[in-house]
Subunit: 244 residues, 4 copies
Amino acid sequence: MKIVVWNENRHEKENEVVSSIYPEGIHGAIQGFLEKEGLDVSTATLDEPEHGLTEEVLNHTDVLVWWGHQAHDEVTEEVAERVKERVLEGMGLVVLHSAHFSKVFKKLMGTSCDLKWREADEKERLWVVNPTHPITEGIGEFIELEKEEMYGEHFDIPVPEELLFVSWFEGGEVFRSGATFQRGRGKIFYFRPGHETYPTYYHTDIQRVISNGIHWAAGLATPKPVYGNAQPLEPIAGKTAAGR
Amino acid sequence: MKIVVWNENRHEKENEVVSSIYPEGIHGAIQGFLEKEGLDVSTATLDEPEHGLTEEVLNHTDVLVWWGHQAHDEVTEEVAERVKERVLEGMGLVVLHSAHFSKVFKKLMGTSCDLKWREADEKERLWVVNPTHPITEGIGEFIELEKEEMYGEHFDIPVPEELLFVSWFEGGEVFRSGATFQRGRGKIFYFRPGHETYPTYYHTDIQRVISNGIHWAAGLATPKPVYGNAQPLEPIAGKTAAGR
Amino acid sequence: MKIVVWNENRHEKENEVVSSIYPEGIHGAIQGFLEKEGLDVSTATLDEPEHGLTEEVLNHTDVLVWWGHQAHDEVTEEVAERVKERVLEGMGLVVLHSAHFSKVFKKLMGTSCDLKWREADEKERLWVVNPTHPITEGIGEFIELEKEEMYGEHFDIPVPEELLFVSWFEGGEVFRSGATFQRGRGKIFYFRPGHETYPTYYHTDIQRVISNGIHWAAGLATPKPVYGNAQPLEPIAGKTAAGR
Amino acid sequence: MKIVVWNENRHEKENEVVSSIYPEGIHGAIQGFLEKEGLDVSTATLDEPEHGLTEEVLNHTDVLVWWGHQAHDEVTEEVAERVKERVLEGMGLVVLHSAHFSKVFKKLMGTSCDLKWREADEKERLWVVNPTHPITEGIGEFIELEKEEMYGEHFDIPVPEELLFVSWFEGGEVFRSGATFQRGRGKIFYFRPGHETYPTYYHTDIQRVISNGIHWAAGLATPKPVYGNAQPLEPIAGKTAAGR
C-alpha cells in the first residue's frame, strides 16, 4: 500500500510557532508516525511542480492524506480535478482539519463544507459514537485534547455515511469530528483535529485514528463496474431496433 | 409554493415521435398535471435567455424540476452554478430520468452519476422498498411501465440517504430508481422514469410520485445556520488573544 | 389525527418537586400544549387497566407519545408487544427522555439502549445538525436548557436513520439527542430532554420539536405490502411443480 | 478468529433431495469451504443440547453463521436471548437465507422480517450496488444463480446501514439481498441465497461473499463503553447534591 501525505506547507514557512512544533512540516510529522508502522509513505506539497501530484504519482497512490488551510485557492483546478477523479477510481482520501475547505473535498461533497470556528486554546473531547468501526478500533471512550481550535455545528456536509466521532468543546459547541463518505469507488474519511499551532499530530490516539483511517480507505480488489450501452441478459418480448 | 419545471426541450423539436407524445413538451405535460392539483407552476427551457433561470426566477422558486438529456453541455457553467447554489440555500430539486447526467446533479453528487442503459421497449417494474416515506404515499407495491428505457446498476451516485424505489427490468437488470439526498439546506429527489419516446409522464402513479417529491422537497421555515468565526458561549479557562 | 400521550405518572404521585412542576402530570402538560394547537389528544397512564392502551385505543391512535422511567418493568409484556405491533403496522411513536429504557423502545431497537447519566442541574445545549428536516423546522441553531439531567455517549442504539440534534453538556459529555428510526410501517422519533424534576416541557422550542415530531411520525395512506407466497409476474422458463 | 456455523439440520434428515446435495449438511458444506481458507470453524445444530450454543461455546465464538428454516420455533427463548446478547457484546453474525425469520434476527431487527417467496426453480441475479465494500471485494458486477427460491420486496427490515446486493428474479421481483446492520458492538450481515434444494453454497462467488462477510463481522479490539451513572469531567456551576 502506497501512501502520499499532501500538505500545503505554508504555515511552517511563515509562522515560527508552527515551525517549532512541526520542524519537518505537518506532512513530515504524519509521515514519521506512519513509517514507524512500516508503511510506505511519501509526501507532496503545494509549491512542488503540479503540487507534487502528477498523474504518475497519483496512479501509484493507494491513499492520499490531505492537509491545507490558507492557500486552498492556489491548488490548480487541474490538479484538484485530477485528485477527485482518482478518488472516484478508488484511491482512498483522508481529509484533515481545515482541509474541509479544500477544492478536492468540496468537489466530492457538493456542499459549502462551511462551519463555525474559533481559536481560543480551548479543550476538545472527541467522543466515539461508533465503537464497532475499524477507524475507532483501539480508541477508548473519547480522545481529549487540552488545546485545539474549535469547529462547531452546523457543519455543511452531506449526511455522513458513517458518523464515528462527535466533539465537545469547552466554549459550548459540538461537532461531527469523524465521518466517512463513499464517492465512486473511493472511500473518504474526514477527521477534524490538527490545527497548525498545536502538537495534535503527536498525540498517539490521533495517530492511531489516522492510521486506522488510511487502512480503512485503501482500495479493494473489486472489478470496475461497466457503464454505458448494455446488451440484454434476458430475452425481451417487445425488443425493437431502436437505437440512441 | 412556486414550482418551475425546466426542460431541455430539444427532442420535442427534432423528433416527431417525441413531439407527438408530448405536443406541449415534457415540461408542458408535467406542468399540466401539477396545475390540475392547483399548484403554481411555470416552465423554463434551454433555449430561453439564461435558460429561463435568471437570479430573479430562481430566487422565487421553491422547487425546481429538471429534465435534460442530449444537451447537458449547453447549460452554461454560470447557470449550473447558480442553480446549485440555490439548492444549497434551500430550493428543492426533483431530478428526472436522463438528468442524472446534468451538470447540476453531478456538481451536487460529486460523482460521475454514470450507469448502464438500453433502449429496447422493455418492461420496467418499480418496487417500493420504503412504504413509510411521503414520496411513496398512495403508491401500491409497484409501478409497472410496459415500455421504458433500461437503466442498470452500477449507478455511480453517493449512497442515497433514502432509497425508495428499486426497478426490475425485463432484460435482467435492477436499478435504484427513487432516491433522496440532502445538500446544504436543499432536498433532492432523483426519479428514474421518463424516456422521451414513451408516454411515461401521463401515468397517474408516476405523476403522483413526482407531485409527492415536490411537496417533500419544498424548503422549510428554518433559520439559516451561522457560519464563520464565533464567540464562545461558555467561559474558556485557557482563552488567549490568539487571532487567525 | 388522534394522539395519545402515555405517561408512567409515578414521580408525580411520589415526589412533591415533580408534582409542583407538573400538577396535571407530565402527560397533562404535553396534552396541554398540543391541544393549544388544536390537536386531538387523549392520555393514558400505567395504573389504568391495560395501562390505558387497550386494542380499541391503539387501533384508533395515529401517534403515541411515551414517557416512562422508574416502572418500565411494570408495563406488561402483553401491552408492550401490542404497542410494538401497532407501530409496525404504522402507528407513529415519539419516545421521550428516560423512555429510552422502555420495553417498547428496546423491543423496536434490538439493543440495550443504555447510556451514561448524571443528575447535577447542569446546562444542556441541543445543536441542530440537520436543518432540512421537518422535525427541526422553526428551531434556531440550538435549544438551551439551563438545568437538565445529563445523558452521555455511548448511547447504545442502532445507527439512527436520521440524526437531528446533538447535545452539549456542561459536565463534558455529548449525546445524540434527536434521532429517527423506521420499523415496519411505523416511524419513531426519540427526543432526549424532559427529566421529571425540571420544567422542560414548558419550553416553547421543546414543545415545537415534540409537535413537529408527532406530525412527522403520523402514518401515511400507503397500502400495506403483501407478504408470503407469491405467484410469478413473468413467465419462468424452468418453472416446476416444486412445493415447500 | 473462531467461527461457528449453526444449522437447523432438519431438511437434510427428512428430504433426500437436500441430503443428496448436502450430504454433510448445509453446515458441513459451509464449514468445508471456510476450512479450505485455513479458518478455525466448528459447527452446531438444533438437536444438540442447548442447540450446541452453550455459554462456553458462545464466549469463544468471534463470528456465528446461522441457517434455519422450518424449526425456528424450536430454538429455545433462552438460547435465542443468549445469542442476541453475545451479538450485542461484539460477536459477529452472518444470517443466511431463511434465517431472516429466525428468533435471533427478529429480536435484533425489531421488525417482522417478512417478505414474499416462491419456489419455482427460477433464475436469480444478485447485482452489486456497493463496489467499495469489503464484503463485495473480488465479486464482479453480479452473481448469477440458475435456480433459486425467490424472495421479493417488500422485505420488512429496518433500513440497512449498508446495502450491498440487490437481486433480480426471473418471475419479476427484486430483493435487497445483501445488507449490513450494527447492534450494540456486534456487526450483522444478512445474505439472501441458499435454499436447501439448490447447490448454492458450492458456488465460488457465494462462498467468497460469505467468507468476506465473516471477516467483516469479526469483532474489533475496542474497549466496551461504560454505561450508567457518571461523574462530571468538567466543573458544573449549578451542581447540587441531587441524587436519583
